[in-house]
Symmetry: C2
Subunit: 135 residues, 2 copies
DNA sequence: GTAGATGCAAAGTATTTGCGACAAG
DNA sequence: CTTGTCGCAAATACTTTGCATCTAC
Protein backbone atom coordinates (compact mmCIF):
# COMPACT_ATOMS: atom_id res chain seq x y z
CA UNK A 1 0.00 0.00 0.00
CA UNK A 2 1.54 3.28 -1.03
CA UNK A 3 1.40 6.83 0.26
CA UNK A 4 -1.62 9.00 -0.37
CA UNK A 5 -1.22 12.16 -2.43
CA UNK A 6 -1.61 14.20 0.75
CA UNK A 7 1.25 12.31 2.38
CA UNK A 8 3.38 12.89 -0.69
CA UNK A 9 2.65 16.61 -0.53
CA UNK A 10 3.78 16.73 3.08
CA UNK A 11 6.98 14.82 2.43
CA UNK A 12 7.77 16.98 -0.59
CA UNK A 13 7.00 20.24 1.16
CA UNK A 14 3.99 21.06 -1.00
CA UNK A 15 1.55 23.23 0.91
CA UNK A 16 -1.76 21.48 1.44
CA UNK A 17 -4.60 23.84 0.69
CA UNK A 18 -8.26 22.85 0.66
CA UNK A 19 -8.29 23.05 -3.12
CA UNK A 20 -5.30 20.75 -3.45
CA UNK A 21 -6.86 18.28 -1.05
CA UNK A 22 -9.98 18.08 -3.19
CA UNK A 23 -7.98 17.67 -6.39
CA UNK A 24 -5.82 15.00 -4.76
CA UNK A 25 -8.89 13.17 -3.54
CA UNK A 26 -10.54 13.23 -6.97
CA UNK A 27 -7.39 12.01 -8.71
CA UNK A 28 -6.98 9.18 -6.23
CA UNK A 29 -10.58 8.13 -6.71
CA UNK A 30 -10.23 8.15 -10.51
CA UNK A 31 -9.52 4.84 -12.18
CA UNK A 32 -9.39 6.42 -15.61
CA UNK A 33 -7.06 9.11 -16.96
CA UNK A 34 -9.03 12.38 -16.78
CA UNK A 35 -8.12 15.48 -18.73
CA UNK A 36 -8.23 18.90 -17.08
CA UNK A 37 -11.87 19.52 -18.04
CA UNK A 38 -13.04 16.23 -16.64
CA UNK A 39 -11.01 16.74 -13.52
CA UNK A 40 -12.41 20.26 -13.12
CA UNK A 41 -15.96 18.92 -13.47
CA UNK A 42 -15.43 16.27 -10.82
CA UNK A 43 -13.72 18.74 -8.51
CA UNK A 44 -16.52 21.28 -8.99
CA UNK A 45 -19.06 18.82 -7.68
CA UNK A 46 -17.22 18.73 -4.38
CA UNK A 47 -16.34 22.42 -4.20
CA UNK A 48 -17.85 24.54 -6.93
CA UNK A 49 -15.74 27.56 -6.04
CA UNK A 50 -12.47 26.01 -7.17
CA UNK A 51 -11.42 27.68 -10.41
CA UNK A 52 -10.08 25.93 -13.46
CA UNK A 53 -6.92 28.04 -13.15
CA UNK A 54 -6.25 26.35 -9.83
CA UNK A 55 -6.81 22.95 -11.39
CA UNK A 56 -4.27 23.78 -14.10
CA UNK A 57 -1.81 25.15 -11.54
CA UNK A 58 -2.24 22.12 -9.32
CA UNK A 59 -1.81 19.39 -11.92
CA UNK A 60 1.30 21.17 -13.13
CA UNK A 61 2.65 21.41 -9.60
CA UNK A 62 1.81 17.78 -8.86
CA UNK A 63 3.42 16.71 -12.08
CA UNK A 64 6.61 18.60 -11.27
CA UNK A 65 6.57 17.05 -7.81
CA UNK A 66 6.31 13.57 -9.27
CA UNK A 67 2.82 13.02 -7.88
CA UNK A 68 0.95 12.89 -11.17
CA UNK A 69 1.94 11.78 -14.64
CA UNK A 70 0.86 13.74 -17.69
CA UNK A 71 0.06 11.91 -20.92
CA UNK A 72 -0.53 13.38 -24.32
CA UNK A 73 -2.11 10.68 -26.41
CA UNK A 74 -2.51 11.09 -30.14
CA UNK A 75 -4.66 14.05 -31.06
CA UNK A 76 -6.17 14.18 -27.60
CA UNK A 77 -5.89 16.67 -24.75
CA UNK A 78 -3.46 16.18 -21.91
CA UNK A 79 -4.57 13.51 -19.45
CA UNK A 80 -3.37 12.84 -15.92
CA UNK A 81 -3.04 9.87 -13.62
CA UNK A 82 -1.69 9.30 -10.16
CA UNK A 83 1.89 8.13 -10.15
CA UNK A 84 2.73 5.12 -8.00
CA UNK A 85 5.74 2.86 -7.76
CA UNK A 86 4.98 0.47 -10.54
CA UNK A 87 5.75 2.14 -13.84
CA UNK A 88 3.51 1.11 -16.71
CA UNK A 89 2.80 2.00 -20.31
CA UNK A 90 -0.49 2.35 -22.18
CA UNK A 91 -2.44 0.47 -24.80
CA UNK A 92 -5.17 2.67 -26.26
CA UNK A 93 -8.27 1.31 -27.94
CA UNK A 94 -8.52 3.55 -31.01
CA UNK A 95 -12.23 2.95 -31.36
CA UNK A 96 -13.47 3.41 -27.80
CA UNK A 97 -10.65 5.43 -26.29
CA UNK A 98 -10.34 2.87 -23.51
CA UNK A 99 -6.90 2.85 -21.93
CA UNK A 100 -5.24 -0.33 -20.73
CA UNK A 101 -2.14 -0.18 -18.54
CA UNK A 102 0.57 -2.74 -19.04
CA UNK A 103 4.08 -3.55 -17.95
CA UNK A 104 6.67 -5.35 -20.04
CA UNK A 105 10.02 -5.76 -18.41
CA UNK A 106 11.63 -7.03 -21.56
CA UNK A 107 10.71 -3.92 -23.54
CA UNK A 108 12.00 -1.75 -20.69
CA UNK A 109 15.33 -3.52 -20.79
CA UNK A 110 15.62 -3.20 -24.53
CA UNK A 111 14.90 0.52 -24.36
CA UNK A 112 17.75 1.02 -21.95
CA UNK A 113 19.94 -1.01 -24.25
CA UNK A 114 19.05 1.11 -27.27
CA UNK A 115 19.86 4.32 -25.39
CA UNK A 116 23.19 2.89 -24.28
CA UNK A 117 24.01 1.87 -27.80
CA UNK A 118 23.82 5.51 -28.87
CA UNK A 119 25.80 6.69 -25.85
CA UNK A 120 22.87 7.90 -23.79
CA UNK A 121 21.59 7.29 -20.30
CA UNK A 122 17.86 6.74 -20.46
CA UNK A 123 16.07 9.19 -18.18
CA UNK A 124 12.52 8.80 -19.40
CA UNK A 125 10.47 7.19 -22.10
CA UNK A 126 7.05 7.10 -23.62
CA UNK A 127 5.51 3.99 -25.09
CA UNK A 128 1.98 3.98 -26.37
CA UNK A 129 0.34 1.18 -28.32
CA UNK A 130 -2.75 1.89 -30.37
CA UNK A 131 -4.91 -1.09 -31.19
CA UNK A 132 -8.27 -2.41 -32.33
CA UNK A 133 -10.07 -4.99 -30.26
CA UNK A 134 -10.27 -8.41 -31.88
CA UNK A 135 -13.64 -10.04 -32.09
CA UNK B 1 15.19 5.09 -53.54
CA UNK B 2 11.63 5.94 -52.71
CA UNK B 3 8.97 8.15 -54.27
CA UNK B 4 9.13 11.90 -53.88
CA UNK B 5 6.35 13.68 -52.03
CA UNK B 6 5.07 15.03 -55.34
CA UNK B 7 4.81 11.51 -56.73
CA UNK B 8 2.96 10.42 -53.62
CA UNK B 9 0.51 13.27 -54.04
CA UNK B 10 -0.21 12.22 -57.59
CA UNK B 11 -0.71 8.58 -56.70
CA UNK B 12 -2.97 9.51 -53.80
CA UNK B 13 -5.01 12.01 -55.78
CA UNK B 14 -3.82 15.02 -53.78
CA UNK B 15 -4.00 18.13 -55.92
CA UNK B 16 -0.55 19.61 -56.50
CA UNK B 17 -0.64 23.35 -56.00
CA UNK B 18 2.41 25.60 -56.09
CA UNK B 19 2.21 26.02 -52.33
CA UNK B 20 2.13 22.29 -51.72
CA UNK B 21 5.10 21.81 -54.03
CA UNK B 22 7.14 24.28 -52.02
CA UNK B 23 6.14 22.69 -48.71
CA UNK B 24 6.93 19.22 -50.09
CA UNK B 25 10.28 20.39 -51.32
CA UNK B 26 11.20 21.97 -47.96
CA UNK B 27 10.15 18.88 -46.03
CA UNK B 28 12.16 16.63 -48.30
CA UNK B 29 15.20 18.83 -47.89
CA UNK B 30 14.89 18.85 -44.10
CA UNK B 31 16.99 16.37 -42.19
CA UNK B 32 15.58 17.49 -38.87
CA UNK B 33 12.00 17.43 -37.59
CA UNK B 34 10.68 20.97 -38.07
CA UNK B 35 7.64 22.32 -36.27
CA UNK B 36 5.09 24.41 -38.15
CA UNK B 37 6.81 27.70 -37.37
CA UNK B 38 10.17 26.49 -38.59
CA UNK B 39 8.59 25.00 -41.67
CA UNK B 40 6.73 28.24 -42.35
CA UNK B 41 9.96 30.21 -42.05
CA UNK B 42 11.77 27.97 -44.50
CA UNK B 43 8.84 28.00 -46.90
CA UNK B 44 8.58 31.79 -46.69
CA UNK B 45 12.14 32.16 -47.95
CA UNK B 46 11.12 30.43 -51.16
CA UNK B 47 7.70 32.01 -51.54
CA UNK B 48 6.92 34.72 -49.02
CA UNK B 49 3.27 34.87 -50.01
CA UNK B 50 2.43 31.42 -48.63
CA UNK B 51 0.39 31.87 -45.48
CA UNK B 52 0.84 29.95 -42.27
CA UNK B 53 -2.78 28.76 -42.57
CA UNK B 54 -1.79 26.96 -45.75
CA UNK B 55 1.17 25.40 -44.00
CA UNK B 56 -1.12 24.11 -41.24
CA UNK B 57 -3.65 22.86 -43.78
CA UNK B 58 -0.97 21.16 -45.83
CA UNK B 59 0.83 19.32 -43.06
CA UNK B 60 -2.52 18.07 -41.84
CA UNK B 61 -3.47 16.90 -45.30
CA UNK B 62 -0.09 15.27 -45.84
CA UNK B 63 -0.33 13.56 -42.51
CA UNK B 64 -3.78 12.19 -43.31
CA UNK B 65 -2.46 11.02 -46.66
CA UNK B 66 0.38 9.17 -45.01
CA UNK B 67 3.02 11.45 -46.49
CA UNK B 68 4.21 13.08 -43.29
CA UNK B 69 4.37 11.86 -39.70
CA UNK B 70 3.44 14.14 -36.85
CA UNK B 71 5.28 13.88 -33.55
CA UNK B 72 4.39 15.47 -30.27
CA UNK B 73 7.44 15.19 -28.09
CA UNK B 74 7.22 16.01 -24.41
CA UNK B 75 6.26 19.60 -23.77
CA UNK B 76 7.18 20.62 -27.28
CA UNK B 77 5.13 21.74 -30.26
CA UNK B 78 4.10 19.32 -32.97
CA UNK B 79 6.96 18.37 -35.30
CA UNK B 80 6.82 16.77 -38.72
CA UNK B 81 9.00 14.51 -40.81
CA UNK B 82 8.69 12.83 -44.16
CA UNK B 83 7.38 9.30 -43.95
CA UNK B 84 9.29 6.65 -45.87
CA UNK B 85 9.21 2.87 -45.84
CA UNK B 86 11.54 2.21 -42.97
CA UNK B 87 9.65 2.86 -39.75
CA UNK B 88 11.74 4.19 -36.89
CA UNK B 89 11.37 5.57 -33.39
CA UNK B 90 13.09 8.48 -31.67
CA UNK B 91 15.68 9.04 -29.01
CA UNK B 92 15.60 12.63 -27.81
CA UNK B 93 18.54 14.34 -26.14
CA UNK B 94 16.83 16.13 -23.26
CA UNK B 95 19.62 18.69 -22.99
CA UNK B 96 20.14 19.70 -26.61
CA UNK B 97 16.86 18.64 -28.17
CA UNK B 98 18.75 16.60 -30.74
CA UNK B 99 16.68 13.79 -32.20
CA UNK B 100 18.18 10.44 -33.12
CA UNK B 101 16.23 7.95 -35.19
CA UNK B 102 16.53 4.27 -34.41
CA UNK B 103 15.00 0.94 -35.31
CA UNK B 104 14.72 -2.04 -33.02
CA UNK B 105 13.00 -5.03 -34.49
CA UNK B 106 12.90 -6.85 -31.21
CA UNK B 107 10.98 -4.06 -29.49
CA UNK B 108 8.56 -3.93 -32.44
CA UNK B 109 7.87 -7.63 -32.09
CA UNK B 110 7.31 -7.38 -28.37
CA UNK B 111 4.86 -4.53 -28.85
CA UNK B 112 2.77 -6.62 -31.18
CA UNK B 113 2.92 -9.45 -28.65
CA UNK B 114 1.71 -7.19 -25.84
CA UNK B 115 -1.24 -5.98 -27.91
CA UNK B 116 -2.15 -9.56 -28.81
CA UNK B 117 -1.98 -10.56 -25.19
CA UNK B 118 -4.76 -8.09 -24.40
CA UNK B 119 -6.80 -9.14 -27.43
CA UNK B 120 -5.85 -6.24 -29.68
CA UNK B 121 -4.44 -5.87 -33.15
CA UNK B 122 -1.70 -3.27 -33.09
CA UNK B 123 -2.42 -0.52 -35.59
CA UNK B 124 0.06 2.09 -34.48
CA UNK B 125 2.50 2.88 -31.75
CA UNK B 126 4.65 5.60 -30.37
CA UNK B 127 7.99 5.00 -28.70
CA UNK B 128 10.14 7.86 -27.55
CA UNK B 129 13.26 7.55 -25.46
CA UNK B 130 14.56 10.55 -23.56
CA UNK B 131 18.21 10.47 -22.61
CA UNK B 132 21.29 12.35 -21.51
CA UNK B 133 24.50 12.01 -23.45
CA UNK B 134 27.25 10.17 -21.61
CA UNK B 135 30.63 11.85 -21.43
C1' DG C 1 3.24 37.46 10.11
C1' DT C 2 4.65 36.11 5.60
C1' DA C 3 5.41 33.54 1.63
C1' DG C 4 2.84 31.34 -1.24
C1' DA C 5 -2.04 30.11 -3.11
C1' DT C 6 -6.43 31.45 -5.13
C1' DG C 7 -10.12 33.49 -8.20
C1' DC C 8 -11.01 36.21 -11.82
C1' DA C 9 -10.51 37.96 -16.12
C1' DA C 10 -7.35 39.08 -19.49
C1' DA C 11 -3.51 37.49 -22.27
C1' DG C 12 -0.89 33.88 -24.56
C1' DT C 13 -0.05 29.89 -27.79
C1' DA C 14 -1.09 26.82 -31.23
C1' DT C 15 -4.30 25.70 -34.52
C1' DT C 16 -8.63 25.98 -37.22
C1' DT C 17 -12.11 28.15 -40.02
C1' DG C 18 -15.46 31.37 -42.80
C1' DC C 19 -15.30 33.76 -46.80
C1' DG C 20 -14.52 35.85 -51.19
C1' DA C 21 -10.94 35.43 -54.75
C1' DC C 22 -8.36 32.19 -57.44
C1' DA C 23 -6.30 28.04 -59.76
C1' DA C 24 -5.83 22.86 -60.93
C1' DG C 25 -7.58 19.18 -63.47
C1' DC D 1 -16.27 24.83 -65.80
C1' DT D 2 -16.28 23.17 -61.25
C1' DT D 3 -14.34 21.71 -57.16
C1' DG D 4 -11.03 22.40 -54.18
C1' DT D 5 -7.36 25.71 -52.45
C1' DC D 6 -5.49 30.14 -50.86
C1' DG D 7 -4.80 34.32 -48.05
C1' DC D 8 -6.60 36.92 -44.63
C1' DA D 9 -8.39 37.86 -40.36
C1' DA D 10 -11.34 36.33 -36.96
C1' DA D 11 -12.43 32.48 -34.08
C1' DT D 12 -11.39 28.56 -31.23
C1' DA D 13 -9.24 25.57 -27.79
C1' DC D 14 -6.23 24.96 -24.28
C1' DT D 15 -3.25 26.89 -20.94
C1' DT D 16 -0.86 30.58 -18.45
C1' DT D 17 -0.56 34.89 -15.89
C1' DG D 18 -1.10 39.70 -13.39
C1' DC D 19 -3.15 41.32 -9.59
C1' DA D 20 -5.61 41.98 -5.40
C1' DT D 21 -7.11 39.03 -1.76
C1' DC D 22 -6.77 35.29 1.23
C1' DT D 23 -4.73 31.28 3.89
C1' DA D 24 -1.48 27.53 5.56
C1' DC D 25 2.10 27.06 8.40
Amino acid sequence: MSETIEQKCLSKGVKLTDQRKVIAQVMSASTDHPNVDELYNRVSKIDSKISIATVYRTVKLFEESGILAKHEFKGDKARYEELNEGHHDHLIDVKSGEIIEFVDEEIEKLQKKVAEKYGYTLVDHKLELYGIKKK
